[in-house]
Every structure is written in structure tokens, then in C-alpha cells.
Symmetry: C2
Subunit: 254 residues, 2 copies
């Protein structure tokens, strides 16, 4: 059941298809690209890889509404960068940068035409028009091993009239839980997502997505998350994710 293997990209925590012996261990890596616990480390490494500094989509733009900005400012005030040399607030959050492209030579172990390779973009960042689709920023709190994501849903994410598509919500859940799992130790691959939709999310609104680590069992990471209104009073979606950490030696078995 050996599959082709994604090439290894130093400093990044996500890989393509991987070889697994048993079906439950075969997984789909989603959007765990460019994940690191240290934004500054990554930002130092990126120019060497890309040639020039790419746009960081996790920074505020003119489309961000009042709720998005309020929550962003809240977590940013508690971030490592802001609190350095200042009073310790007891919370240590780190904002994670977010880009829209993978490396040009990234083939994930499969043959892709040059055209597809050069045009490929991360699914959640494939529309450059600010505010049109996924506007989000993820913060990570290392001491509590939890993530918080602020997500503003644009008008191009419609499912039911006036509401966010269930697939767009699943995409954000995969992004947050996968990022969370990859931050804990090693590169990961998504094995399972179990999503319960409780109440729809109106198009254009901002929600909070929080994830926690439920359990670690060998290579397995069990992450759960909740999508709520920004004040936490209304539950929109609940989900669990199972991720498998991948060792470098595993990746080298082709």
C-alpha cells in the first residue's frame, strides 16, 4: 500500500501523500502549510525560499469588520511580540502567518504539469479580493496547547441562501485543527473529521473557532474544536479531528 511521498521542506510542517500499511492510517493532508510555533523564525526563513517576502494574509485589511478587528486586537495584545518587555498578562499567544502558495518545486510526490505547479494556491487563500472569501487569523497558546481562530466569512462562501456553506465551515475546521495538531510536535496528516452542524452561520459574519488537544496516543493526535459567535454565546458547529504525526524517517521511505 505504499504511496508516493511528499518531498521534505525544511521549516514546514505539512507533507503530501504518505505510505501507510493500514487503511485507518492513510490520511489526507489538508492545509497544514507554513505552520510553525515561531512566526519570526519562519519569517526569517521565507525570503530565502520565495525570493521575496510573500503577502501574509493573516494581517488586517480594509475588509475586516468591527468584530474581526476587536478580537484580533484582543489576541494581538496578548501575543508574544506585543508583551515582550511589558507586563505579563498570563496569556502567551502567538499569531501564525498565512500564505497562499506552496513552493514551486513542491510536487507532493506526484507528477504535476508545470502549469498546475506554477498556478497552485492554498485553497483557503486562493481569492485575493479582500473580504470575498476566507478572512481568518490563527493564534496559538503554547502553555495551554490551544488555538483560537477569528474567521470572517465572505460573500463567495455561500451555501444556503444567506449562510455559509457547510464545506467552507469544514474547510476552516480542517485548517484550525490540522494547524493545531502540527504545532504540537511534528508534521501531521488528517485521518478523520467528524463535524456536527448545530446552527447556520450568516454570510458576512465573524465567528470564533477554538481548538483543544483531547488526547495523544502514539502518533495520533485527537483535537476537538467549537465554532461559536464571537462572544461564545451561540454554538454553530462542533467537530473532532484525528491527525497522525509523521516522522522524517517515515517520509523518506519511498
Amino acid at each position: 500500500m505504499t504511496r508516493s511521498v511528499g518531498r521534505i521542506f525544511s521549516g514546514f510542517r505539512c507533507f503530501g501523500s504518505l505510505p501507510f500499511g493500514n487503511p485507518p492510517l492513510k490520511t489526507q493532508c489538508s492545509s497544514v502549510l507554513f505552520r510553525t510555533t515561531s512566526e519570526r523564525t519562519l519569517m526569517h526563513a521565507l525570503p530565502k525560499i520565495f525570493g521575496r517576502k510573500p503577502r501574509d494574509f493573516s494581517l488586517p485589511n480594509s475588509s475586516w469588520g468591527k468584530e474581526m478587528m476587536q478580537l484580533y486586537n484582543h489576541y494581538n495584545r496578548l501575543s508574544k511580540e506585543t508583551t515582550e518587555g511589558q507586563e505579563d498578562h498570563g496569556e502567551q499567544w502567538t499569531r501564525l502567518p498565512s500564505y497562499n502558495r506552496t513552493l514551486k518545486y513542491a510536487t507532493g510526490g506526484v507528477y504535476l504539469s508545470k502549469i498546475i505547479q506554477s498556478k497552485a494556491r492554498l485553497f483557503t487563500r486562493n481569492i485575493r479580493d479582500p473580504g470575498a472569501s476566507f478572512e481568518y487569523v490563527i493564534f496559538f497558546r503554547q502553555d495551554k496547547l490551544k488555538c483560537a481562530c477569528i474567521f470572517q466569512a465572505g460573500h463567495l462562501l455561500e451555501g444556503a441562501p444567506g449562510h455559509v456553506h457547510g464545506g467552507a465551515i469544514a474547510t476552516m475546521i480542517d485548517t484550525i485543527t490540522g494547524t493545531h495538531a502540527s504545532l504540537l510536535s511534528a508534521p501531521v496528516m488528517t485521518a478523520n473529521l467528524n463535524i456536527n452542524y448545530r446552527s447556520p452561520i450568516p454570510l458576512g459574519s465573524t465567528v470564533l473557532i477554538e481548538s483543544i488537544l483531547d488526547k495523544e496516543d502514539g502518533r495520533k493526535r485527537y483535537i476537538s474544536c467549537r465554532v461559536t459567535s464571537t462572544d461564545g454565546s451561540k454554538l454553530h458547529t462542533e467537530a473532532t479531528g484525528l491527525f497522525l504525526s509523521i516522522s522524517v524517517s517515515h517520509l523518506l521511505k519511498r
Copy 2:
């Protein structure tokens, strides 16, 4: 726990948020828009609603590759329209049209600004560039109550380098299983999606997504589906979906 209610659109089978008493019955409607068992009925109704005939994204375009076209031609030959007046092949498939917009007055029961309303587009059809994101067509076989979807994944759906994002796969699964559930009886809302990722899907490739009805229990519809290579030899993803059928009287309770 009453929620706002999506307005009712005659001839369509998907609605916005709905009121339910118990959390497990609160759901997220996704992409079950414009679903009908009769394309011709819908196509007659659409011009009156839209003013002019909208683009049907389920028809072939120049980006469709060889595998996509071969499977499309296979199912199209077995479709109702093609077989009328011809020999009965024993299979009766119906191609389902697919559009990128909801009605302008569709608010889903929630307040949306005029700007968001006018710009809103169905998530899976929000990029007009042929071949860039989701290229798919769904066929329905009423006598066996099953669906078959041919899906070609564009370069803007990337997750792991060279592979389709797990969220994009979840989006297609939600689309197919939700469509299937809505075709069986009444409008539906997605309550749960449980997705097992078995092996990654290379970017640019074409896959087959087949869904079957597992069980009906009152208002509940249990649909399962498999994402495989076009010849069925390789399993990429398995999933189950739980959907709740919604009665018109239910919709009117605001």
C-alpha cells in the same frame, strides 16, 4: 432555541437556518441549492426568476480533461434525455444542472447588507475561470437512489503540496450527499459529516464520487459516499452524512 428561518423559494430544495428544539436536530444547510429531479422543469422555471438564463456549470468546458469527458459522456449516454426514444439501457441517469448564485432576495432569514446579497455566490461555483477550482457534474439514478459525481480538482484547491485540500474534499462530499438527500423527498439540512481520508488526491486529477442511501428514519436521511479513482480501483475518501428533511410547515414557524 428558535432560529431564524430561510424564506421559501418555490421549486428549490434548500433553505437557510431552521428552528429545532434539540441540538442534534439543528443543522447547517450547505450547497443543496437548485436541486431537482427534473432538469427541464427547473430550466423552464429559472428564466422567470433570474430574468435571463444563468450559466449551467455542470456542462463541459475547455478545461475538462480526458477522464472527465469520458465519464461525462458515459453517464450522459445513459441519461433520460439521451435515451428518450432510444433503446433502454437499463440505467436511467439524470444530469443535474448547477449554478453559481442564489436569488437576489434570498436572505436565509438573516439580515444581510445589500452589497453581500448582490455579490453572494455558491461556494463551489465562486470562481469563473474554467478548471481553476471545482469542476464537477452530478448524475442521479432514481431507480437505485444513488448519485454519481465526476470531479476534476483545479490548481486553486491545494492543501498539501500537489494535493487537494481536505476541506475541498469535504466540500464536494457535502455537496454530493446533501444533493442526494434532498432529491429523495424534501428540502434537507446537513446535521453531520463524518469523513475518513484514506489516500490523498493529486491536484489536477479527476475522481468519481458515488453516494448511496443507507437508511431513512423519520425525518433523517443517512447517506454514505466514496471518493475513488475514476476506474474505482483506488479509494481516496469514505464518508457518511446525516441530513434532516424539512417540511414546509416547519419552515413557516418563525
